[in-house]
C-alpha cells in the first residue's frame, strides 16, 4: 500500500469516487428517510486516502471533496474542507503508528473520523456566526453518521485495495531459474 504501488490511475479513481460520494449524499435521500440522518461518506474515504497515499493526494482529496460538498450545501465554501484537511494531515503524519491493515483499527479510525469531521464542521459554522439547525435530535444524527462511517471504512479498504491490485502495476515475478547456475551437461 505504499507510494510506489500507486499508479497514475489511483489519484483519478480516488477523486472520481470523492465526487460520486458527494453526488450520492445529495441525490439519494433514503438514509435520511430510514435513519433520520444523511450519512457522510467523506471522512471514511479520507481515512483510506491518508493511510494509503501521500500528503499531496490527501490535500487534493480534501479540497475537491470538501468544496464539492459545500457547493451543494448551504455551508460556506471551505467549511468541510478544513476538518477534512486536519483529519487527513494528522493521519498521514502518524500513519506509521497506525495498524492500518487491521480491520478493527480501520473500523475504529472510521468511527473517530466520521464522528469528528461533522462535529468540527458544525463548530466551525457556529464560530463563523452561522446558525445551523442543532438540537437533541442532532445527537442521533451524529451517532448514525459515526456508526455508518465506521462500518463503511473497512469496506473502502477492501474495495480500493482490490481495485488497486487489479489496475495497479504488479511486481514482476522472478523465476528461480538462473543461467549462471545452470549445469552444462555434455560429452566434453
Amino acid at each position: 500500500m505504499g507510494d510506489a504501488a500507486m499508479s497514475a490511475l489511483t489519484p483519478i479513481l480516488i477523486l472520481a469516487v470523492a465526487l460520486l460520494a458527494v453526488f450520492f449524499e445529495a441525490s439519494f435521500d433514503a438514509p435520511r428517510r430510514w435513519l433520520g440522518a444523511q450519512v457522510d461518506l467523506l471522512p471514511g474515504l479520507m481515512v483510506y486516502v491518508s493511510l494509503s497515499s501521500n500528503l499531496l493526494m490527501v490535500l487534493a482529496f480534501a479540497l475537491v471533496s470538501g468544496f464539492a460538498l459545500d457547493s451543494l450545501s448551504a455551508n460556506p465554501p471551505g467549511a468541510t474542507v478544513l476538518p477534512l484537511l486536519v483529519l487527513g494531515a494528522l493521519m498521514q503524519r502518524f500513519r506509521h503508528l497506525l495498524l492500518s491493515g487491521e480491520i478493527y483499527a480501520q473500523w475504529l479510525l472510521g468511527l473517530g473520523a466520521s464522528a469528528g469531521v461533522p462535529l468540527c464542521t458544525v463548530l466551525l459554522l457556529m464560530a463563523l456566526g452561522g446558525a445551523p439547525l442543532v438540537s437533541w435530535g442532532s445527537v442521533w444524527q451524529w451517532l448514525v453518521m459515526a456508526a455508518v462511517g465506521s462500518v463503511l471504512t473497512p469496506l473502502y479498504f477492501l474495495v480500493f485495495d482490490q481495485l488497486r491490485w487489479m489496475f495497479g502495476y504488479r511486481p514482476v515475478q522472478e523465476t528461480s531459474f538462473r543461467p549462471d547456475r545452470e549445469i552444462a551437461r555434455g560429452r566434453n
Binding site: 465526487l19 458527494v22 453526488f23 449524499e25 445529495a26 441525490s27 435521500d29 435520511r32 428517510r33 433520520g36 440522518a37 444523511q38 457522510d40 501521500n54 500528503l55 499531496l56 490535500l59 480534501a62 479540497l63 470538501g66 468544496f67 464539492a68 460538498l69 459545500d70 457547493s71 451543494l72 450545501s73 448551504a74 455551508n75 460556506p76 465554501p77 471551505g78 467549511a79 474542507v81 478544513l82 484537511l85 494531515a89 461533522p118 464542521t121 458544525v122 459554522l125 463563523l128 446558525a131 445551523p132 439547525l133 442543532v134 438540537s135 435530535g137 442532532s138 442521533w140 444524527q141 453518521m145
Partner: protein, 267 residues
C-alpha cells in the same frame, strides 16, 4: 527543500480553505455555483433514467387500473370545475368590492412547475435544489409551493437550477396569520433536527383563543410571501418568557421529506 514541499502544499491548502470561508456572500455564491456545475451531467443522467424508468413502469399498468383511474379523475375534474366556477364568481365579486373601496386589484398567481433534483447533504440545513433557474425567469426570494401549501423560498438562482430554503431552515422565517382569530405571528424553525414537520409560530398574544387544529396561513406582511398561502395547523400552544408572549407548534401541511415536484411563484 524537497522535504518541506508537502508542508508548504498543506499550508497553501489551508490558506485556500480560509480564503474561501472569508469570501463575501456574492463571491461565495458564485464560487459554489461554479463548483456545483460539475454535477450537472450527473443530475441530468439521474433525471433521464428516472424518466425512462417511469415510462417503462407505465407500460406495465393494467387496462382495468387505467380505466378506474380515468373514472376517478373524471369525477375529480367535474368537482374542480364546479369549484372553479364558484371561485371565479367570488373573485369577480371580490374585485368589484375592492374597486368600490379603492383597493388595488389582486393579480392571480403565476406558477412554474419544477422537479427536486438534490437535497442539502448536510444534516444541519433544510434545503433542496430544483431544476429551474434564471433561464426560466426565476429570481431569488420567490415563494415555492407544493399542492398542499408553502414549501419555502428561492435562496440562490443559477442558470438552470436553484436552491430552495425550506420551511424549518434557520434562514426561512415567514410572517403568518391564524385567520380564524386574525392573530399574527412568525413561523420559524421548530428547532428539531429530526422532525421537519413541526415548526414554531412565535410572537402570539391571544393564547386563550388559540386552539389545536386552527389553520395557519401567510399573512402577506412581507414583500416575499403573498397572503393566504396555507402553511399548517396548530398542534399546541405554550407560554414563553414568563407568559410575556406565546408560541404555538405548527404541523406543516406539506411533507418536506417526500418533495418531488414543487411550484415556483413568478412575479
Amino acid at each position: 527543500m524537497l522535504k518541506k514541499a508537502p508542508y508548504i502544499a498543506l499550508g497553501v491548502a489551508v490558506l485556500l480553505a480560509l480564503i474561501a470561508l472569508k469570501l463575501p456572500n456574492r463571491a461565495a455564491a458564485q464560487f459554489k455555483l461554479a463548483v456545483g456545475s460539475l454535477f450537472l451531467p450527473l443530475f441530468g443522467v439521474v433525471s433521464s433514467s428516472q424518466h425512462l424508468m417511469s415510462k417503462a413502469g407505465d407500460t406495465f399498468v393494467s387496462r382495468a387500473d387505467l380505466v378506474d383511474q380515468n373514472e376517478q379523475l373524471r369525477h375529480e375534474n367535474q368537482e374542480l370545475k364546479f369549484q372553479s366556477m364558484r371561485s371565479a364568481e367570488l373573485e369577480r365579486e371580490n374585485g368589484r368590492l375592492r374597486q368600490q373601496l379603492g383597493f388595488l386589484r389582486q393579480s392571480p398567481w403565476k406558477l412554474l412547475p419544477a422537479h427536486v433534483i438534490a437535497r442539502d447533504p448536510a444534516n444541519w440545513w433544510r434545503q433542496v435544489w430544483i431544476d429551474r433557474g434564471r433561464r426560466d425567469g426565476l429570481r431569488a426570494d420567490r415563494p415555492v409551493l407544493a399542492a398542499d401549501g408553502l414549501v419555502g423560498r428561492l435562496a440562490e438562482v443559477a442558470e438552470t437550477r436553484s436552491r430552495v430554503v425550506l420551511l424549518g431552515d434557520p434562514a426561512c422565517r415567514v410572517p403568518a396569520l391564524v385567520p380564524e382569530i386574525r392573530e399574527l405571528g412568525v413561523v420559524s424553525s421548530g428547532g428539531n433536527a429530526l422532525d421537519s414537520s413541526l415548526l414554531t409560530l412565535g410572537y402570539l398574544s391571544k393564547s386563550d383563543q388559540l386552539k389545536a387544529g386552527q389553520l395557519v396561513v401567510t399573512s402577506g406582511l412581507s414583500t416575499l410571501f403573498p397572503s393566504g398561502i396555507h402553511i399548517g395547523h396548530i398542534v399546541d400552544v405554550h407560554a414563553v418568557d414568563f407568559g410575556l408572549y406565546f408560541e404555538a407548534r405548527v404541523k406543516l401541511l406539506v411533507n418536506l421529506n417526500s418533495l418531488e415536484e414543487v411550484w415556483v411563484m413568478l412575479p
